[in-house]
Amino acid sequence: MMSNFEILNNVDHKDLRVVQGNPTTHGEGVHCCPAYTFEFRDLQNDFPLLLQEHSEGGFIPVALMGFEAGENLFIECDAWLVPTPPAYIRKGPFLIGTHKTEASELVRMMSVDTSHPRVSWDDGTALFQPLGGRTDYLEQTANLLETIFESAEHTKRFTAALDSLALIESITLDITLNDGSKNQLLGFYTVNEDMLKQLSAEQLSALSGEGFLMPLFMMLASLSNFTAMIKRKDQRL
């Protein structure tokens, strides 16, 4: 379904609610989603963190959750197996963006995708108090969006830095499952370890100064999650 973003307000969205639970039936059964550097430490515990080419050029980090479109190996019986799914999933139907006011000031505003499967007008968690104040749920979501908004900028600079140091290489993963079937994972990129080893002390120091070194190593460490993912896929056969 097409997205339909509207700037969130307590009049048009007075009765808008967000349905909780049941990730698959609410569009979360995806095989990958964007990931932000602030959450790499948490995500690398479960998900391979890879890069994809961005439609507007450059690369974006993604958390891998399955090997083919529509497959999510971290959802079972329509419930997440991990305590903290990626922030991109947790933010639900919301988005934060910069808007120009009538006075040409740039302000950050929260939008809601009213076509999102979690959006309901009769059941779920309310966004607004009876008289129009914000609920705790809305406050928490707004905080998460702020965190994402700030981290998105850092994440953009992070991938640009990797790209400029020629640290990005494509990865092709050939997976043979227990039943003999073969799968190939295409279109993903990862960190080129050989190039990483050749970086000078100055280059490493510059990466560290920008806060890029830790997410870089978290990405490398996250690749060990492939084994567990393949095992899960085998168990589902």
């Binding site: 307000n9 307590n10 009049v11 007075k14 607004f128 008289l131 129009g132 104040g133």
Partner: protein, 337 residues
Amino acid sequence: MIYEALSRVECIDVAEPGVIPPTVFTRETPVVLRGLVRHWPAVEHGADDFDALRDYLSKFWNTRPVTAYVAPAEVQGRFGYNDAFNGFNFQAGSAPLAEMVERMKEQVASADGRSIYVGSTPVNEWLPGFREANPLSVPGDPLVNFWMGNRTTVSAHYDFPSNVACVVYGQRRFTLFPSGQVDNLYVGPIDRTPSGQPISLVDFDAPDFERFPRFKEALEHAQTVVLEPGDAIFVPSMWWHHVKALADCNLLVNYWWLDNAAFMGSPFTALMHAVMSIRNLSPSQRSAWGNLFNHYVFNADDTAIDHIPEHARGCLAELDENDVRRLRAELINRLNQ
């Protein structure tokens, strides 16, 4: 005692029990409605003795814990601040209503001077069915509360909603002042209060006129009355009222309703905001803001807006529920800095 010298609250006849004369709702001054609820079964049961009333109430009450204030004898039932003014002179406890009634009876029997008070408790939640069995027609969707205790005093305070208070059992003395007497009532803190509303620090039974000299002026404007079982009083919105229970056991049921739409902002929140933003300005700035407040708020009439095209009046136009929601969101955003 100060009460003998005070004016009496006007009384009007109630033609039909349970029906508040319509003129009451447009009044700006208090009025006593003798016998308004004398037909209530609760009042009739109480005419025998308190045990009969207790038995009647036990048909309705549930086991939900209710909050009660208890105070030692030296407080003399006047709940408020402690002597050091760093806390209160009572303690709050909670137990089912049946137990609170027993405790009240024990304290009365022992005559040890301790006081117990269950204040402002929603009737529908603790005495479900009572309201239907003891009806009174009040406009809109009023909040109906009961107030029970021994010889206790609620210091003078105001409430924003309009109020009809009905004595079911015991006697209660109401002493009332128009809102303008705030200058002469020596009101305590507005942000730390014993039970929600700021209270006068004057002990009406032994006023300290050296400490509170202007209270004499307040008394010039006071009205007082003692209500008997079945009697009711209309307390207009914002009138200061001091309420003293005079019998060993007392029960009152009151109805609060707002004359304005419930979606409007809270005037008290506006006052707190003004305290934060305006009170500490220089005298000249304060007086300039006073001019603006008078222009836009206190003396608001069309002269403030009739030169602005109707579609462009923004929040100065007549506000509907959605306008107020937008304004609330705007204020929440502005305050969150």
